[in-house]
Amino acid sequence: MSTLANPMPDAGPIVLEKAELKSWKAPIALGIFALIALILFVGFGRDGSSTFRFAESTDVVQLPSLTLPTRATGIVIAILLVLLTLVGAALAQTRRTVQIWFVAIFALLFMVGLLTWASAGHTVPFTGLLIGAVSLSVPLIFGAMGGVISERVGVVNVAIEGQLLAGAFVSAMVGSMTRSPWAGIVAAMVAGVLVAFVLAAFSIKYFVDQVIVGVVLNVLVSGLTSFLYSQLLTAHPAELNAPPRFSPVDIPVLSEIPIIGPVLFRQTVIVYLMYIAVAAVYFGLFHTRWGLRLRSVGEHPQAADTVGINVTGTRFWNVSLAGAIVGAGGAYFTLGSVGSFSQDMTAGAGFIALAAVIFGRWDPIRATLAALLFGFATNLQNVLGIIGSPVPSEFLLMLPYLVTIFAVAGLVGVVRGPAASGKPYIKS
């Protein structure tokens, strides 16, 4: 501490401390990708030309398509990446940190190079790539928002997967019975809350290990929905498993912006709800009294209790609120996307959402970006598979997970979550 008197009067200057700040992690990571770029784009360079299509047939403003010569573009980009790596190394050498925008520019260049290389002789529908990325991210973002609230208030929510699945199942059933997608999404939120009630009751009231309750809940919801699906839904598909879907709503003016319009503003109501949810969670957490209390309970419950905040109650109701948000995300699977429920259709989205929470450092905006990154990687895999890239399909299927691991391990490093997350508060 600087306020303490220095016990050693003849201690040297702070050179040693400074030396520890020299971090080679970023330049090494950049170097690996630059090497991959050199090998792929130059070593295995492909001939022909790659076309990027930016306009949908329904757009008012028709952007022209961009055609690049594959080999030349690859070489230029590989050289640029190597130069950027050298700049990164120089920054590290002079003990300056490699900023996030620097990494972003590097990643963007690498991505353009990869797409150009993989699509030699083909057309990449760039807008379609992004539209698909957003639609794959929607349930992940809802799940991540629920995860952020729940963990910030001090309860680890491993049950996101179960809440998504319960939401998907109930929204399909209620939506079909009432013929109203609105009733479906409300029912999905109720289902999410019910799962959250169980999680909250066991972890807050009975102090059961939160991770174990979460895992058990996932298995329980999976078993229950599969059972009901095979007993009820497959027997009466028209009455119970054919909900009306939300149809896309174009937002006037905004939906006509090239690229951004079709990607963000020609979506279903659930996606617009997601925008509101992200903004509300961000604003609520960091700019309202509710958020301050919530975070204090998650960081230091004793202190919160001392100043008169009801720790148990705050935890219980916020975990339930998180359940409602995740449940709405579950409705996207049936009411927004495919239009019918099938067994275990969430396929691990809840766990990816959990990873997004940690990758996003328990921050709603960063967690949203992390979910979008995963959605993009998944859809990139789809598009590359279709245009017939030279990368084997089995490898492509690993891509989203590889990106997640790399992102969590390589870019995030040591993070500190809410201090009391996962610890039951036993009032003494």
């Binding site: 529908p125 059961v208 058990v216 078993g223 095979s230 699977f333 067994q343 259709m345 789809n382 279709i386």
Partner: protein, 367 residues
Amino acid sequence: MTRILEDILTITARRAGLTGLAAIGVMALLAACAPAPSTGGSSTAAASNFLPCMVSDSGGFDDKSFNQLGYEGLTSAASELKVKFLKAQSKTETDFAPNITSMVNQNCNLVVTVGFLLADATKAAAAANPNTNFAIIDDSSITAKNVKPIIFDTAQAAFLAGYASASYSKTSIVGTFGGMQIPTVTIFMDGFADGVKYFNTKKGKNVKVVGWNVDTQNGSFTGGFAANQTAKNTAQGLIDQNADVILPVGGPIYQSAAQAIRDSGKPIVMLGVDADVYASDPSVKDLLLTSVMKGMKPGVHDVVKAAASGTFSNAPYVGTLKNGGVALAPFHDYASKVDPGLQGELDTIKAGIIDGSIKVTSPSSPK
């Protein structure tokens, strides 16, 4: 006595939370890991002691496709034979071996395992139980005295489908995508692409196939057999490439493709696989050009009946165009929209494939 019971109940109530959790956990684990075999069939007294059994893959018996067709073959054979049968549904790949073992322990005479993915588990069980007969659908890798492979040369029917699709396509681009990259899926895609190629050489056209490359055996896959957003995006990707005929191969993923087609609002059609989807799922019949049918139901039916009459053999049952084990479904609603000469051309090609003058080969074809 009652007092003691009441005391116990009070203590139990206090501990209800924990006990409840434990109970839930145990139930859930039981439900997930090893579903108890369920007895089906007619309630009438069994006509013989013959007990046929079936183990599904992770799609489940109600997948409106692959497993369901095999199951229907079993039920129809069992009701004709007036015998009971057992079935076990696998939820994940780790269920395969325990399910097969539990079937063997129930004294099943014949265990039918549905799908290529069960090959390893079936092989191990067959070696461990030489007195039980096995039949495995879609796999011919096992050579054992007590294992009968039920396999299909689906490429032959898919070849016809590829030819028909190429003829129907207005954009001259047709697309296909699969669930997982396994031989029983890619054989459809191989036949389809070769059919398109045959059309191009016959008619001097240049219809392109997107989503699958026969030469490199590389293409687009969703990574599983669930009708989810990934499958929908993959179909959307094919639509973005301007394809107007789509062949989704793998259980229920056609439902996702149907939604993508409806969302696009374009006049795009798709093809069904395994069953005549026009009949099995009428909700998508307006989008179905035709279906590539795989006679799983008659195949299983015949094998079960043969085993019941004591004539089980390990010679593989191979479904082909010749024996009707694979076929192209009628065009139904699209009969008036396809080229009038198409059906005649398809009949000629079919005859050619049967007499061997047209060779349809796929790396995944049964050997």
